[in-house]
Each structure stands twice: as structure tokens, then as C-alpha cells.
């Protein structure tokens, strides 16, 4: 179940961060305010609190309950979109003004400039930060335990109770570590792939 939460968060939050990032830079005040408020709320409060909120408070206040899995996924997606949006925005803002000016002088539209010139350069700059976020996500998925949907932790606790053998916790930790290790490797590869153009002069 934690793997499901991880994968679904990845699939939805990675793309969702982009409109939030672009919105935070928008020239239209309502859009900008909305996106910045969204980031502020979801980045400014603990994920655990957000999970409690969506899982326990929403049903009490609004009288409907969702299954644990979708609840966890929605919370994670919103939370991680906010974090990723800030990483994206930082990356976009780190691109030299001259790139925008050169694009504008060539007659490229805002859209063409953003998607053809700015974002491709942003990717290689933000990859380390995004990879970091993914590793945090792997660890954060253990939080879903508190709303009773974790399998990994629950399974290991069950094992501990049964055998009173603390190595089960160790196994859980190792699985997390293995997971983050693989992620780091993948991120390295992708990063290399996207920084080809920064090859030093021969």
C-alpha cells in the first residue's frame, strides 16, 4: 500500500506542481494569489496533520468518508505538489533574463519560450532537488500507517509481535533504504541525460 501511495503521488504530483509553479509567477493576481496560498498551506503545515485532517476531520465536518487509500493519495499529492511547485518555480526563476530576451527577439511567444527554452533548461537544474523530494516521499509514506493503511509498517509490527524479534523493524528500514538507493541511482542517470549540453569544452 505504501508503494501504491508512493507511485500515485509521483504520477500526479510531478505534473501538478508545474501549473502551480507557473501560476505562482502569473501576471494575473487572482491566479497568483490562489497558487501561492495553496503552496503556503500545504508546505506550511505538517503532512501528518494534513493526513489527520483529510481522514478524520473531513468526515466529521462534511459527513462523508473516503477509503483510506484515496484519502492518503489525495493528501500526499496536494502536499507534494506544493513542495515540487516551489522547486520548479525556483528553477524557472534561476534562468537568466537574457534567455527570455533572446527568445522574445526571435519572435517566440510566451508559451513557446516557456516550454521550448526555459523549462528544458530548468529540468537539469532542479533534478537533484526533485530527487531529494522523492526520497523524502519514500520515507513519508510510512505516515499512512497512522491512518491505518500501511502494510509495510503494519506487517513488520505484526511480525515483531508474533516473534518478538526486532529484526523485522530492521528489515523494514532496509527496504526503505533500498528504495531510496534505487531512486538516487535513477535520478543520477536522468540528471546526466539532461546535462549533456553542459559538457566541458574539449
Amino acid at each position: 500500500m505504501t508503494v501504491q501511495v508512493f507511485l500515485l503521488t509521483l504520477v500526479f504530483a510531478l505534473p501538478l506542481g508545474l501549473p502551480v509553479a507557473l501560476g505562482s509567477n502569473s501576471r494575473l493576481l487572482p491566479i497568483r494569489l490562489f497558487c501561492r496560498a495553496f503552496v503556503w498551506v500545504f508546505r506550511g503545515t505538517p503532512l501528518l496533520l494534513q493526513l489527520f485532517f483529510f481522514f478524520y476531520m473531513l468526515p466529521i465536518w462534511f459527513g462523508f468518508a473516503m477509503d483510506p487509500l484515496p484519502t492518503a493519495v489525495i493528501t500526499f499529492v496536494l502536499n507534494y505538489s506544493a513542495y515540487l511547485a516551489e522547486i520548479y518555480r525556483g528553477g524557472i526563476n534561476s534562468i537568466d533574463r537574457g534567455q527570455y530576451e533572446a527568445a522574445s527577439c526571435l519572435g517566440l511567444s510566451r508559451w513557446q519560450t516557456m516550454f521550448g527554452i526555459i523549462l528544458p533548461q530548468t529540468v537539469s537544474r532542479i533534478l537533484p532537488a526533485v530527487a531529494n523530494e522523492m526520497i523524502t516521499l519514500v520515507k513519508d509514506t510510512s505516515l499512512v500507517y497512522v491512518i491505518g493503511v500501511a502494510e509495510l509498517m503494519k506487517a513488520s509490527r505484526g511480525a515483531v509481535n508474533r516473534d518478538t524479534d526486532p529484526t523485522a523493524y530492521l528489515v523494514a528500514a532496509l527496504i526503505y533504504l533500498l528504495f531510496t538507493f534505487i531512486l538516487t541511482k535513477v535520478a543520477d542517470r536522468v540528471e546526466k541525460r539532461f546535462s549533456r549540453h553542459e559538457a566541458r569544452r574539449q
Binding site: D96, G98, A102, S104, C105, L106, I117, H197
Partner: protein, 258 residues
């Protein structure tokens, strides 16, 4: 001869600072105009007003006879965004720091805008790009990344990129200032070729040799105003104002000391 660029009473204010103070400038088809002047005199601001990298505070600009901005009520009013983009697309700009797109090869840098903006086919755009790379003497660098080129080579690719959009007016903002003295020559040579082909050019430069040799007209700016203009002979051999005399004396002696 037809005026490609007509600027009338251009004022540009940055807060309380007046960077351009009622500057008027006409550039005719095929002319090479050099702009010289001390740092902070408004040379870049003037150039950047032509393609709306800077929005002017008041004044009037026509490109190819078509109105881009006017000030009927004393404040600058631009025509529609579409129109402005269309007018600006008949100008190309070369920057001091090149601003090549680092994630694209030289070929990609040159073909991107023609394909996206002019909807050229890839084959068509690449054919033009190869021809332009040949023109700037970099036929063998088509598949290199900008980071693999020297500054002079990057600037020549930037010129090819600008030319690929077939501009009628090329704006150069100190194209050789970021380069080592030994390699300014290769960029200036390309610009000379363009001048010889009657490309219309407006060139902000500290290269007095280039201004003297290549320009049809030289403009001297100081404090956001055009102080003096004329043929290279008039400006360099027979400067009228004390400002220009002082400026020439200090820059020429500085360049000799290099």
C-alpha cells in the same frame, strides 16, 4: 531610400531616472549606424526600446513605416500585442553575452525560431542554418553545444541565429565587449560582411575602429541624449562639442593602452 526605423522624441524613465531624454533617430534601409558614448548614457536603453525589451515612457516609434507605439496623450500607447510582435520580428538582436540556448546545438539554436514562428519545415530551416553557419565561418560546428565553443564562435552563432529570422534591421549591443581582444576581430569581420551586403544595422560599440571603418553614420550619446551625429570623418576628425572631444580623447588613449 525608405526609413526602416523612425524614433521620435523617445523618453524612457526608470523611476526618477531619465535614461532617454527626447531622442529622435531615423535609420534608412541599408545603413550601418554606430552608437558610441560613455557608460550609462542610454545606448542600450535606446536599442532595447526598438524591439520593446524596454517599454518607452513616451514618444513614437515606426518600423518600416508602421506605427508600433505613439503618445497621443503624452503617455506611450503600444498597438496590439500581436502587431508589436509582428513588427519586432522584423528586427534581430545580438547581445553582449550572446544568450545562446544552452540546451540546443548550434543547429538547434538557429532552426528553432524559424520552425516555430515562421512554420518552416525542419529541412528548410536546416538548409538555411547550414548556409548561415557557412557565412559566419562555422560550417563544422553545426552539431556542437554552445558550451563547446569559444566566446567569439558563440557570438557568430548568435548572429546566424538572428539572421535566420530574416530581419530587416539588426541591433547589436556591444557584440564584442565580452570577448578577449584577440577574438573580437572574427566577430567584427562577420559584421563587416553584413554591412557590405547592405544589411541595415544599428550597432552600439566601444570599438572605435569598427565605427570609423564600417559605419555610414556615427551617433554620440551622453546623458540620454544624442549630442552629435555625422559621418565617421565628421565625428572622429572634426568633433564639434567638448563632450565628444573629451570622450574620444579618453577612449582612444584607453584603447591604445590595451
Amino acid at each position: 531610400m525608405a526609413a526602416i526605423l523612425e524614433m521620435q522624441n523617445i523618453v524612457k524613465e526608470f523611476g526618477r531616472l531619465r535614461a532617454l531624454d527626447k531622442v529622435s533617430l531615423h535609420v534608412e534601409q541599408g545603413e550601418t549606424v554606430a552608437i558610441i558614448g560613455p557608460s550609462g548614457s542610454g545606448k542600450s536603453t535606446l536599442l532595447r526600446s526598438v524591439n520593446r525589451l524596454e517599454k518607452i515612457t513616451s514618444g513614437e516609434i515606426r518600423i518600416n513605416g508602421e506605427l508600433m507605439v505613439s503618445s497621443p496623450s503624452g503617455k506611450a500607447e503600444y498597438v496590439s500585442e500581436r502587431q508589436v510582435r509582428r513588427l519586432c520580428s522584423s528586427t534581430g538582436m545580438i547581445f553582449q553575452h550572446f544568450h545562446l540556448f544552452p540546451h540546443m546545438t548550434c543547429l538547434g539554436n538557429i532552426t528553432y525560431a524559424p520552425m516555430k514562428v515562421k512554420k518552416q519545415s525542419q529541412a528548410q530551416a536546416e538548409e538555411t542554418a547550414h548556409r548561415l553557419l557557412e557565412l559566419v565561418g562555422l560550417a563544422d560546428k553545426a552539431d556542437n553545444w554552445p558550451s563547446q565553443l569559444s566566446g567569439g564562435q558563440q557570438q557568430r552563432v548568435a548572429i546566424a541565429r538572428g539572421l535566420a529570422m530574416e530581419p530587416e534591421l539588426m541591433l547589436f549591443d556591444e557584440p564584442t565587449s565580452a570577448l578577449d581582444p584577440e577574438i573580437t576581430g572574427e566577430v567584427l569581420a562577420v559584421m563587416k560582411t553584413l554591412a557590405a551586403r547592405r544589411m541595415t544595422m544599428l550597432v552600439v560599440t566601444h570599438e572605435m575602429g569598427f565605427a570609423r571603418e564600417v559605419a555610414d553614420r556615427v551617433i554620440f550619446m551622453a546623458d540620454g541624449r544624442i549630442i552629435e551625429q555625422g559621418t565617421p570623418e565628421q565625428i572622429f576628425e572634426n568633433p564639434q562639442t567638448e563632450r565628444l572631444q573629451n570622450f574620444l580623447r579618453s577612449t582612444l588613449s584607453a584603447q591604445k593602452n590595451q
